[in-house]
Amino acid sequence: MNKELKNSCNPIIFEEVFNLYAKDLKRFLFFKYRDLETAEDVMQDSFVKLWENCENVPYDKVKSYLFTIANNQFLNIKKHEKVIRKNEFRHTKSITNESPEFLMIEQEYLVEIEDAIASLTHKQREVFLLSRIEKKKYKEIALQLNISVKAVEKRMHLALIVMRKVMKVG
């Protein structure tokens, strides 16, 4: 009974599904496309398709549905790009406008980083995430946590050293 009610046609469930899988899907797509914007677009389109097809997708199949749609979309785009390249000899499409270093980042590497972050002390991790993920200035973090800027800098510095060590070993 409960299972039947759990259908992504229900806007509340749909939002729940979105919050559950959006980031994973975006990450999955990012490592396929190497482009954040495209990843974001295809992610959004996949959810739109899910909504339109919500009646035909059982709740426990939602995740695989989303990833299949996203992957098909990826293949379509690639196919399309191939056609374009065939017809336009001089076509030099840069797949992405990110820096080359950016391209080097592999999915496994991100997992390594996440593991390294997990190995930080609570205090270091708190500051580190506020700085690197939430993009807050040291001053803002100091104000928020009611500590000195210097203390923030110290934690950041130590965090980086710890992470470097952990990742070297890993």
Partner: protein, 307 residues
């Protein structure tokens, strides 16, 4: 102060470098080359992670917008068949209802002080006096020439099949002639001008010959009057009465001039014989009430009090 800042920078150089306050070249002076590469990669990796870990709420809003857009554009297409089916069903339903209830009825009415000439489907003509209405069904007019009347009207009927005027008080049947029917409240009067008219009251039948009139007031007294005109006078702009109870005359005045007359005090048995014009209110009131020796005054613009 200057020195302290510098010390500060050197003490937590990695933090400074991450924040962009220390150049890569400066970093390479402080750590090994290998470390610089590793830290740079880490910085980039964190950049990617940060972008991937951004809150997804804005994306959700965009998705909602896309869904909205799609449902107004393409998703409608999938529903179209259902819509078409339901529209077809509705049309069928209303058509059936229309057939069944005969909602093809045509209604014509004349308002206060108006006269209206209505041509029926067979060129029969109806002239409606003020505040009167007729209703008839277009559908089987050929087989059933029936008109529902409330108020007063003059009929000029083309020869042909039976023509019936139905009123609350009784039916009037003819084969082609000219006559008036006045069915106002409990006043029922039929005057025949040409041909023969059959009046069917609750259970009695009367045949009227030209210039004959049938009148029934309040459901009890029946009168047979003679009338020697070609057509009713109200068509030419005046109402003619022959021994008609005064309150009917008053109600006709009200209809012609869209006024309210307080006739609470008049004698219900008083009858009026005479004519009043439809063109001038003052004269009409003077003719009727003057003849009846009644005093009246205007209480407001459209209401009159009898004394």
């Amino acid at each position: 102060m200057e020195k302290k800042t510098k010390n500060n920078t050197e003490e937590f150089y990695l933090a400074q470098w991450l924040e962009g306050n220390l150049l890569d070249t400066d970093l390479s002076k402080l750590v090994s080359n290998e470390d610089v590469i590793a830290y740079k990669k880490l910085k980039n990796g964190l950049e990617v992670l940060s972008k991937l870990e951004q809150p997804v709420a804005p994306s959700f809003e965009k998705i909602q917008a896309k869904i909205q857009h799609n449902s107004s554009a393409s998703k409608v297409r999938t529903l179209n068949y259902k819509w078409l089916a339901s529209i077809a069903a509705m049309l069928l339903f209303f058509f059936g209802l229309y057939q069944y209830l005969g909602t093809d009825a045509v209604l014509n009415s004349a308002d206060f002080g108006e006269q209206k000439t209505v041509a029926l489907l067979d060129n029969s003509k109806v002239i409606l006096n003020a505040k009167s209405a007729i209703k008839y069904s277009k559908k089987d007019w050929k087989n059933n020439r029936a008109v529902y009347l409330s108020g007063e009207a003059f009929f000029k009927v083309q020869k042909g099949s039976r023509f019936t005027v139905k009123t609350k008080r009784g039916d009037v049947t003819v084969l082609g002639t000219q006559f008036t029917v006045n069915a106002t409240d409990d006043f029922f009067e039929v005057i025949c001008f040409e041909g023969k008219v059959r009046v069917t009251d609750t259970n009695k039948e009367y045949i009227l010959n030209p210039t004959q009139a049938y009148r029934k007031i309040n459901g009890d007294d029946f009168e047979n009057l003679n009338y020697n005109k070609k057509e009713p006078t109200w068509i030419t702009g005046e109402s003619t009465y022959k021994s008609v109870p005064l309150h009917y005359v008053i109600s006709d005045l009200e209809k012609q001039y869209n006024i309210k007359i307080d006739a609470a005090k008049i004698d219900r048995k008083a009858v009026f014989t005479g004519v009043f014009t439809h063109k001038d209110k003052a004269i009409a009131l003077q003719t009727v009430f003057g003849a009846m020796r009644l005093k009246y005054k205007n209480t407001t613009r459209n209401s009159i009090m009898l004394e």
